[in-house]
């Protein structure tokens, strides 16, 4: 069964969900870049994908995993699992594919990470189909332009949204106060991305060109600021810190924070040895992890083509440029 909702009713619908859920939506506040925030009636940002991804609601930049207490008589460990009921509205198709990738890693591949999976299970996903291509996006090349794994899908249609409920949990949210039944056909959009990525044998070719001059050429400009990895919806690397509780010698807590392969400290191991010190190596790791190493283990790419890393790079390093350059040299038989 499909529905429609008038666009002007959308904020009211989201606020009404706030009674039972923590509602997350793409918003624009003051002069800040659009990002996903807890919706309290701010101005919604529905033009295109947000500058920052929604991954922080599934993998927060800093999360306390557990605290422990040890004295002579006992040892106590208390994990902190987030079971807040959430509704995530307005995640774009690229974002839904990114969640699939995180599921693959943190539920299936590494074994279930309960801190992640609890947030994931307790979140209802309302995806929003893109009606036009965004700047720097290249989702059409990677087959990530159609949303997957959602509970409800919103599609733009003039002054309305066409609404498709996929799951029971999703259907329960569609209050008759806001939603009308419809038997119309689902609107479809043909996205034309400006950027394109040649994906044929991409992972294999990039890895085979480990020493291609393009790596050095592009990395000379790289500031190693780590913005690309922070802003990426699929970058998941983290570090674990055991932090002391001030003034106590029996309590401590373990925190998980985001980390970035673009930082030198990322590969610091015992004895202070850094095994990937060069800027070239770090930039190459970012690209090869997305296209080669992940593909080897999981059969697909870790990049969803949102183009956030391209938009956010202060020195205009473009991973599609690097990949296409190597692809072109391979197809021309130069490498």
């Amino acid at each position: 069964m499909n529905y429609t909702i008038k666009k002007e009713l959308l904020p009211r619908f989201l606020l009404s969900l706030g009674k039972n859920f923590e509602v997350i939506a793409p918003v624009k506040e003051y002069a800040r870049p659009p990002s996903f925030e807890i919706f309290k009636g701010q101005e919604l940002f529905l033009d295109e994908r947000t500058t920052f991804s929604a991954k922080k609601f599934f993998r927060p930049s800093k999360e306390k995993i557990f605290s422990f207490k040890k004295d002579k008589a006992s040892f106590e460990i208390s994990p902190e699992i987030d079971t807040t009921k959430r509704v995530l509205f307005g995640i774009r198709p690229c974002g839904t594919h990114a969640l699939q990738a995180l599921d693959q890693l943190f539920v299936k591949f590494f074994g279930e990470d309960q801190f992640y999976s609890s947030r994931r299970k307790n979140t209802i996903i309302i995806a929003l189909q893109c009606s036009k291509a965004c700047k720097n996006g290249f989702c059409t090349s990677l087959g990530t332009s159609q949303a997957v794994g959602y509970d409800i899908l919103f599609l733009e249609r003039g002054a309305d949204f066409f609404v498709k409920a996929e799951t029971e949990a999703g259907k329960d949210l569609l209050d008759a106060e806001f939603f009308k039944h419809t038997s119309d056909a689902e609107p479809s959009f043909n996205l034309e991305c400006e950027k394109n990525l040649e994906t044929k044998d991409l992972g294999k070719n990039l890895y085979a060109n480990f020493n291609h001059p393009v790596w050095k050429q592009e990395s000379e400009r790289c500031l190693s600021c780590s913005s690309c990895t922070q802003i990426c919806p699929t970058c998941y690397c983290y570090r674990l810190n055991d932090d002391f509780v001030f003034g106590s010698d029996t309590e401590s807590e373990r925190n998980r924070t985001w980390d970035s392969c673009q930082l030198k400290r990322f590969t610091k191991v015992a004895g202070n040895h850094v095994f990937r010190p060069s800027r070239k190596g770090r930039l190459r790791q970012f690209v090869l992890h997305k296209f080669s190493y992940y593909e080897e283990n999981h059969g697909t790419h870790l990049c969803v083509g949102c183009g956030r890393c391209i938009t956010t790079c202060p020195v205009e390093i473009d991973l599609t440029f690097i990949a296409n350059k190597i692809q072109k040299d391979v197809s021309e038989g130069k490498k």
Binding site: R32, C222, L223, Q230, K264
Partner: protein, 254 residues
């Protein structure tokens, strides 16, 4: 935890003593710390004149060495402390005290003539003269970082200075990038730890926490050049807080 309280001293060389006051800003948290620490020598935090301690576990020293008087005091403190922490930009990277290091000769001479106390030829951070065990950077220091250091020290862990740029923390706060707006920001080459205070308030980073070893200076410099900054403007920006130009050698020819 050790029953004996850790003996701490605060010392000021040439500076505004703002870092010492930043420690006072911790208020209640500092009171909690007093269960484990004892301040035995400090001009700001104790009655005047401050008693002289003969032995210290940690000495926090703020300010730069710009006179022989400063140098004598620094060496005296180094002798009586087990662990020496440089506090704030003046002590860690010489900061604005060192602007005269890069001034043209004539102005420098005039400054020297006008000085109330005899000055040395150049201003230097503590590490130029004595072994410094840890740096707490910033102008002024980040109080939470001070507390974190103290917490680790009291648990017997020596903290490590991580090579992380301001941009890392800036993106965690979901700020828009100032470089994308054409504003010359030193975030990519400056140590994090301040929670990206300036960029979060739309002001560019001016490098008060010191430059990382890993920073890509030549790329950032050519980016500033594209923004339309003259050679002099770029030099002034890079040496605002970091006027020891050995790091900036590669920029000289450009």
């Amino acid at each position: 935890m050790a029953k004996k309280k850790v003996k701490i001293g605060f010392f000021s060389l040439t500076c505004c003593e703002g870092c010492g006051f930043a420690v006072l800003d911790l208020e209640e948290k500092l009171l909690k710390a007093f269960e484990q620490i004892e301040i035995v020598e400090s001009r700001v935090l104790m009655e005047k004149p401050s008693p002289k301690a003969s032995k210290l576990d940690i000495a926090f020293i703020e300010g730069s060495v710009i006179s022989n008087h400063d140098l004598d005091k620094l060496q005296e403190v180094r002798k009586k402390t087990d662990f020496l922490v440089a506090l704030g930009a003046c002590a860690t990277i010489v900061g604005i005290n060192g602007i005269r290091n890069v001034l043209p000769g004539g102005i420098r001479e005039r400054l020297k003539e006008k000085a109330i106390k005899p000055m040395r030829e150049k201003a230097f951070p503590l590490s130029a003269f004595v072994k410094v065990d840890y740096l707490l950077q910033g102008c002024s220091i980040n109080e939470e970082e001070f507390l974190d250091f103290l917490n680790k020290f009291l648990h017997g862990v020596k903290p490590v200075l991580e090579e992380v740029p301001v941009c890392f923390e800036c993106k965690l706060k979901e700020n828009g990038c100032l470089l994308l707006k054409g504003i010359a920001c030193l975030g990519p080459v400056t140590y994090a730890g301040c929670d990206a205070l300036c960029p979060s308030n739309n002001a560019q980073c001016i490098g008060c926490r010191g430059f990382t070893k890993d920073g890509n200076f030549s790329s950032l410099d050519s980016l500033f050049k594209d923004f339309g900054l003259s050679k002099k403007e770029r030099f002034n920006l890079f040496t605002y807080f970091n006027p020891l130009p050995e790091k900036l050698k590669d920029l000289e020819g450009k």
